[in-house]
């Protein structure tokens, strides 16, 4: 789990994009850990949200993940 979280954070910090779909996280993780299951990746992402490291970004119809403090923030 910690390993998954590390990969997700690394990806979130270094990716060109500042907002990612869950699928992007999934791909990033599976590139390094091909056996990682979606369910586990989601759990890891949820933990990161609960730790305040990742945030959700929603257009209302579509939701994405972002790294807290990077890219578009709440104070528009």
């Amino acid at each position: 789990m910690e390993e998954l979280k590390k990969i997700i954070l690394e990806f979130a910090e270094t990716s060109k994009k500042t907002k990612f779909y869950f699928k992007d996280l999934e791909k990033a993780v599976q590139a390094k850990m091909p056996d990682a299951k979606s369910r586990e990746i989601k759990k890891a992402a949820t933990e990161l949200v609960n730790e305040g490291k990742l945030i959700y970004f929603s257009t209302g119809s579509t939701t994405m993940y972002g790294l807290k403090g990077r890219g578009i923030t709440e104070d528009q």
Partner: protein, 472 residues
């Protein structure tokens, strides 16, 4: 029979939880309301106060007055919020354009859905609605309420939000329209702790499931719509609050093929109650309809003189499969030919009833036009029993989700994925054989995607072998 919640429900006693006193709730007179003007000029909206249909403008104005007359500190968002909402609406009429901006990073901690950010793009003119976020509150199945709950919700929302609602949003939620970012968490805290009530879905989540009135007050319902809806909602709370789907996913439960919650047009996973035995017939009641003793279609057409009820013309001839006939004064139905369209039952509810061996038909992939055009749901499973704990339905649903999460592109609805990959591939995924029930007609083109294993000898062939028989 009775249904039990997953955990004990908190009884809401309004007197115990209330915020506002009786005096505060009745703080203006009819006379004051008559003379009341909001702080903006709204001639176009005031025109909508006229006419017989309930006027949302007149309603909003009394909320504006009521808020205005509350003491300072008795609302946590500006008292002018309804004034500014109407003012901005009037400006939109003049400009022919909306003045709301996109959402963004607002929500309650740990949830990816349930809150939709909303900001005014003219905050200098309408400062009270500069931040005006929506909360979606998961409605109780089929929308029955006790007043204590509603009154408590009104107090909470008037105190910490605009006091303006949608009852209900298109997906089914109670919509709370307009509050500030600061108040989101306090609202969520009191919703969960005091009202024993959670938020609904938004974004790339399972959206709040909804259902028709079902057996609570409808003789046509073939399944326990509320129980099924509640069970799926509770079982998939994580999917509802924490987005990990490619896009939205809607579940709706209709009790019969009349389809009062429109699941066939509006849900990715449509559960429609049906039966597989025979329509129950009360021949005496059939005779009573024929004799004109009972109004057809429960009196739905009684506003106009359509002449005497004619069973041949109004029922038998309109049956889409022609499976009915009168024989020796009795109504006969060839049930093997019936496609359960409900017409005869709708016309003669006292004589005809759905069968008793009931379940659901499951259809998948309905959606509104964005992106690939609107779709109605496609029949995937003709019949399934639908009994608690509904494991068969959950297993099917999870198979679908797994495939969609794996194969679906970002912002691709299930129906679009099925179109892109083909219905045969979808059937393979959910592990059911093809059946003629799933199509209106077989394909008209011969471009069949044969697989190698379908063909004897496989696809590997030697060109030399071929050339031994055919010169170049």
């Amino acid at each position: 029979m009775a249904f039990a919640p997953k955990r004990p429900q908190k009884e809401i006693n309004y007197e115990e939880v209330r915020i506002y006193t009786e005096e505060e709730l009745h703080n203006y007179t009819e006379e004051e309301l008559k003379n009341f003007k909001i702080k903006h000029d709204i001639p176009a909206l005031e025109d909508l106060e006229k006419g017989p249909w309930p006027s949302f403008v007149a309603d909003a104005k009394r909320e504006a007055l009521h808020r205005k007359k509350l003491a300072e500190g008795r609302t946590m968002v500006d008292k002018d919020v309804v004034d500014d909402l109407l003012g901005q609406l009037e400006l939109s009429f003049n400009d022919g354009e909306t003045h709301w901006k996109h959402g963004g990073i607002v929500g309650v901690f740990g949830y990816g859905g349930g809150v939709i950010g909303r900001y005014s793009d003219v905050p200098e003119k309408f400062p009270s609605v500069a931040h005006f976020h929506t909360l979606r509150v998961n409605q109780p199945a089929s929308k029955f309420y006790k007043t204590g709950f509603l009154r408590a919700l009104c107090d909470l929302w008037e105190y910490r939000g605009s006091g303006v609602f949608n009852m209900h949003g298109s997906t089914g939620d109670i919509i709370l329209l307009g509050t500030t970012t600061e108040q989101l968490e306090p609202i969520f805290y009191d919703l969960t702790h005091e009202l024993d009530q959670d938020l609904g879905g938004s974004g790339s989540n399972l959206r709040t499931p909804s259902c028709c009135i079902g057996k609570a007050r409808c003789e046509f319902a073939c399944i326990d719509t509320q129980d099924l809806c509640y069970e799926l909602t509770m079982h998939y709370q994580d999917e509802l609050h924490r987005p990990a789907f490619p896009y939205k996913f809607k579940i709706k439960v209709d009790g019969c093929p009349n389809g009062c919650v429109a699941s066939i047009a509006r849900s990715d996973f449509s559960l429609i109650g049906t039966w597989r035995d025979n329509i129950r017939i009360d021949q005496e009641a059939v005779k009573a309809y024929i004799a004109g003793e009972i109004k057809p279609n429960a009196g739905a057409h009684s506003g106009r003189d359509w002449g005497k009820f004619d069973i041949q013309k109004e029922v038998i001839d309109l049956c889409p499969t022609g499976c009915m006939a009168m024989e020796d004064g009795e109504l006969k139905i060839n049930n093997a030919e019936c496609n359960r369209c409900m017409h005869c039952i709708n016309v003669m509810p006292r004589a005809l009833r759905p069968g008793t061996d009931t379940g659901v038909s499951i259809l998948v992939g309905a959606k509104a036009p964005i992106l690939e055009g609107a779709q109605l749901a496609t029949l995937a499973v003709p019949f399934m029993k639908a009994e608690p704990p509904y494991d068969n339905i959950k297993e099917l649903l999870e198979k679908i989700w797994e495939w969609w999460m794996e194969e679906g592109k970002n912002r691709e609805r299930l129906g679009e994925l099925i179109q892109r990959k083909g219905l045969p591939r979808f059937l393979e995924v959910i592990g059911v054989p093809a059946a003629p029930q799933m199509v209106k007609m077989p394909r008209t083109n011969p471009y069949i995607f044969w697989k190698e294993e379908d063909v004897p000898g496989g696809w590997k062939r030697d060109i030399k072998d071929y050339r031994m028989r055919h010169k170049r």
